[in-house]
């Protein structure tokens, strides 16, 4: 019997021995944090004195003692490498580590870690003001007001808790290769949101589902509260749109020409990414501007609180705001930022003059009803 078995044994043993080897590698790979760099303290202090004058004198030193920062951020075009390089050029004593996810997982991960006493994020990002307000009240976000708080417009911050760093602005977009000159002329004539449903693209349009996050809810909410449910019905009847589960897949299919027109979509992020890849896409922002802010706050259990404070203060400075806008593609939320985005230089590109002052709490409370109405009107 043993002989019979041993015939097969040789190969199998060799295989399993080979497979076991990486377990040793696992032990090695799962070891401690990286070593900290330091230096340039005087230059850092000087930068703070010139650009964020109200910041406490000892903060830079304390931040350098922290030596690192864990940033939980949303998914952007690119890897924030430019932004991080810009910060660490000024503050070389601080190393930034990141965790990236979309809004929902960021909320679940951050709150679960905080409540379990794990030192996860130092700085936490999201795009949901109601959620940020909720966890601020619960004490998850540190109550700290940076001296340059005033550089952020009131609508895009909750002073002392969270601050916007850029805007995901909504517009309508189209595939330039798939429209006729007459259709192009019509598209260029659209100025306000009440016009978007009158587009000549029946059966060739696409929209994002109302449940696909704040940037998807906002245009539906605006249309509903401003023009009533008929505005939704007009979208359905005039456009017969395909419904997508998110802006990313929609932008891919718009670039492919599967649909020609998207009446509302986050243009500077999802759509602009395809434009940068040279897809035949263009977009316009009707008035008033509809946007959600990408915001950040400091964890009240931050393991590196001083580095976190320095990072937030730097992000709100004109230098920081510009870095955020130009490395992520978000639209500037104030005139402090210098906009060097490639598409912002195009002749057809124009940001909205005014933004609609969304009541975020009301919008979130309206979501349940909007889901039902969406199902009634669009059948999903």
């Amino acid at each position: 019997m043993w002989k019979y078995i041993s015939r097969q044994e040789g190969n199998v043993k060799a295989t399993w021995a080979w497979m076991a080897a990486p377990l040793a590698a696992l032990l090695v790979a799962a070891t401690g944090p990286a070593v900290q760099a330091a230096g340039g303290l005087d230059a850092s202090k000087q930068w703070v004195a010139e650009n964020v004058p109200g910041l406490p004198a000892g903060l830079v030193e304390a931040a350098c003692k922290d030596g690192k920062l864990m940033l939980y951020h949303l998914v952007f075009r690119g890897k924030l490498a430019d932004l991080i390089a810009s910060f660490t050029k000024t503050f070389p004593c601080i190393k930034i580590d990141t965790y990236m996810a979309s809004g929902g997982p960021l909320q679940t991960r951050f709150t679960s870690e905080w409540r379990a006493g794990q030192a996860g994020a130092d700085v936490w990002m999201n795009s949901s003001p109601p959620f940020a307000d909720k966890i601020s009240k619960e004490g998850l976000l540190l109550n700290w007001t940076p001296p340059n708080d005033a550089l952020v417009p009131a609508h895009w911050k909750r002073s002392g808790y969270w601050y916007g760093i850029g805007l995901a602005t909504l517009g309508f977009a189209w595939n330039t290769k798939e429209v006729t000159p007459a259709e192009q002329k019509w598209l260029e004539s659209v100025k306000t949101w009440d016009q978007i449903a009158k587009a000549p693209f029946k059966g060739r349009s696409c929209m994002v589902h109302v449940r696909a996050g704040g940037s998807a809810q906002l245009p539906y909410y605006y249309l509903l509260t401003t023009y009533g449910i008929q505005s939704w019905k007009d979208l359905k009847e005039n456009l017969e749109p395909s419904i997508f589960s998110g802006a990313g897949p929609l932008a891919d299919r718009l670039a492919a020409g599967e649909c020609v027109y998207a009446p509302h979509v986050t243009a500077d992020t999802a759509v602009a990414t395809r434009w940068l890849q040279k897809a035949p896409i263009r977009w316009t922002f009707p008035e008033p501007g509809l946007a959600i802010s990408y915001l950040m706050g400091i964890s009240s259990k931050a393991a590196h609180p001083d580095a976190a404070k320095l990072f937030v203060a730097w992000s709100l400075s004109p230098h920081g705001q510009s870095a955020w806008v130009n490395s992520t593609g978000l639209a500037p939320m104030s005139k402090q930022a210098t906009d060097r985005r490639k598409y912002a230089k195009e002749s057809w590109y124009r940001l909205p003059g005014d933004y609609y002052p969304t009541d975020w709490d009301k919008m979130e409370k309206a979501l349940k009803g909007m889901n039902t109405q969406f199902k009634d009107v669009f059948g999903q």
Partner: protein
């Protein structure tokens, strides 16, 4: 001779009742129970807690509530998504098993030319994640602009020939992905059936078809049922394909609902946890039926104490046609999608047009940064580590369940099967809630992912090795026990080599599962433990599908090379 065998069996059976043996078995079950509880029951327990609690765990002011369960089970809102989910699972399970059984039969029990080569080629669709397959088939069969429809229109056809945004499209894409799983699951059991029973049937006048119907299929019944159940739940809990392909045609499934509750604000993990329990009832009922079927395990024994040969059915006139049929099958299921992915990976953006100006190497350049290289390394380490440990654990669990008589062993079977019925995204939340407090600084390291993968995929190791173990007569094990061999010796010296091929199948499946796992990983990874699947997932949002295509091509190539290497080491390749 017969008398001697019977006497041996009696002694062996009495050895099973030996107090010392029973004590060691009891200890083994206790140790396994503790391990499986940590890997599976703790995260699943947190999910149940979440389903019955008004807030996430550890939120002050939370209280017991039936509200979440009532929303899911006591309203009509989720009836249609549930029925759609079950229908998708049933269709994909049935079609995959039919295709997988047929392919496994062709490769193992017929005179198919170059069967070894086909065995390797037929598993390739498994290498691509369902998400990538869905994107590839979208590029091919999207209405109007899919490659198939563009060609159709250029040939003068009206409208669209294919529409991937449909129920049939979802079932097709999932079947393409899961049929090779059925093939892999059934290879071992199919191969283990000796020629003697078939020869006996032939001597008694049965034809080939009759032999398959009355001998082969009944002997494979537990393996086929276990495979169908497994694929049913895998297809039913899949969120990527129904979400990507079903939204346009208004198809809602439970996992696609869960996706919205967990990915977009405002998140509702408690409601997601409640919905995550829906498939559990179905799956645990299936496990119950499977256990009833395999209660008399000796009915399915095909490997006894004597060596056997495998019978080779003559394909006759179909023999020269068989390779062409398989080639066509592969072309439709993997050749065209892979070509679409490969072409897409060189495109700046998705486009049905063919033009040099659209081509770029930029998508591949993205892969050269430090994050991607770390992700490659982490994925390989985790894939190999988790596949190895989970297969070994799965074998020990399945051995305990089928070869010992200690009370409580059945519970092991049920517990290890639980994660398969819970959509990965929900299970990820349970794991986050459960593991965030792990001691020794484990949180945020590769170890958390290793633990998560072992818990999530243990069920596959248990089932695949179980399929092989059921066909090995207990008499071999019992004989060694009578001769004084301890459990470790018996496992290492008898069971291990005899189910070696089943273990290799399990290893390969788990390696691929781990490489593609993203829904739980995205909640558990850190910058140091980032994996390839997370990089691909994020790149979809960051750059669109093209970069993800490039990653998928490289991932497929790595998987192919590694699986080939493992096959060779295991002595399975016969090209």
């Amino acid at each position: 001779m017969e008398l001697a065998r019977e006497g041996f069996a009696v002694r062996a059976r009495s050895a099973l009742f030996d107090p010392a043996v029973r004590r060691s078995h009891r200890l083994l079950v206790l140790a396994l129970m503790a391990l499986v509880t940590m890997l599976v029951l703790v995260p699943v327990g947190f999910l149940f807690f979440g389903a019955l609690w008004s807030e996430a765990p550890r939120v002050p002011g939370g209280h017991l509530t039936a509200g979440n369960l009532a929303t899911i089970y006591a309203t009509s809102t989720f009836v249609v998504p549930l029925l759609t989910t079950l229908a998708i699972g049933a269709w994909v399970g049935a079609l995959s098993v039919v295709v997988g059984t047929l392919l496994a039969w062709l490769v193992t029990r017929t005179d198919l030319p170059r069967a070894g080569l086909w065995e390797n080629l037929l598993v390739i669709p498994v290498y691509l994640s369902p998400l990538m397959l869905a994107l590839a088939f979208t590029a091919m069969a999207a209405p109007r602009v899919g490659f198939i429809n563009v060609v159709w229109q250029q040939l003068g056809g009206a409208g669209s020939l294919a529409n991937v945004y449909s129920f049939a499209g979802i079932v097709f894409v999932l079947t393409v992905h899961y049929a090779p799983f059925a093939f892999l699951y059934l290879l071992g059991p199919m191969r283990a059936i000796g020629a003697d029973v078939e020869e006996a049937a032939t001597v008694l006048g049965s034809g080939s078809f009759e032999t398959i119907r009355r001998i082969l299929l009944p002997m494979l019944a537990p393996a086929i049922f276990a495979t169908a159940l497994m694929i049913f739940t895998l297809a039913a809990e899949n969120f990527a394909v129904p979400t990507l392909l079903g939204r346009q045609s208004g198809i809602r499934t439970i996992p696609s609902e869960i996706y919205f509750w967990l990915v977009y604000e405002p998140v509702n993990p408690n409601l997601a946890a409640s919905a995550g329990t829906m498939l559990l009832v179905v799956t645990l009922s299936g496990i119950f039926v499977y256990r009833r079927m395999t209660r008399v395990a000796s009915r399915y024994v095909t490997v006894g104490g004597k060596p056997h040969s495998t019978r080779s059915v003559k394909l006759g006139w179909f023999r020269p046609l068989a390779p062409w049929t398989l080639a066509l099958y592969l072309l439709a299921t993997i050749g065209l999608p892979l070509a679409a992915l490969l072409y897409g990976s060189f495109l700046r953006y998705i486009s049905p047009r063919l033009s040099w100006s659209l081509l770029t190497l930029a998508n591949y350049r993205q892969m050269l940064d430090a994050d991607s290289l770390l992700a490659f390394r982490n994925s390989l380490v985790l894939g190999i580590g988790a596949a190895t440990l989970t297969t070994l654990l799965g074998l020990i669990v399945t051995y305990t369940v089928h070869r010992t008589r200690v009370s409580g062993r059945g519970l092991l079977d049920y517990i290890s099967a639980m994660p398969i019925a819970i959509p990965g995204m929900v299970l990820g939340v349970g794991m986050l809630w459960a593991y965030v407090n792990l001691p020794f600084g484990i949180w945020g390291t590769l170890w958390v992912l290793l633990i998560a993968y072992m818990g999530r995929f243990l069920v596959h190791a248990v089932r695949v090795t179980g399929n092989s173990l059921l066909q090995i007569s207990a008499e071999l094990d019992e004989a060694a026990q009578v001769l004084g061999a301890g459990m470790v010796r018996r496992l290492g010296g008898i069971i291990f080599p005899l189910v070696g091929r089943g273990m290799l199948s399990s290893w390969i499946l788990l390696f691929i599962f781990v490489l593609n796992e993203v829904t739980a990983t995205v909640l558990l990874y850190s910058s140091r433990s980032i994996t390839l699947s997370v990089v691909v997932w994020n790149s979809l949002d960051m750059y669109g599908a093209m970069v993800a295509f490039a990653y998928s091509i490289i991932q497929t190539a790595i998987t192919f090379v590694l699986v080939y290497f493992v096959f060779r080491l295991g002595g399975r390749v016969a090209w």
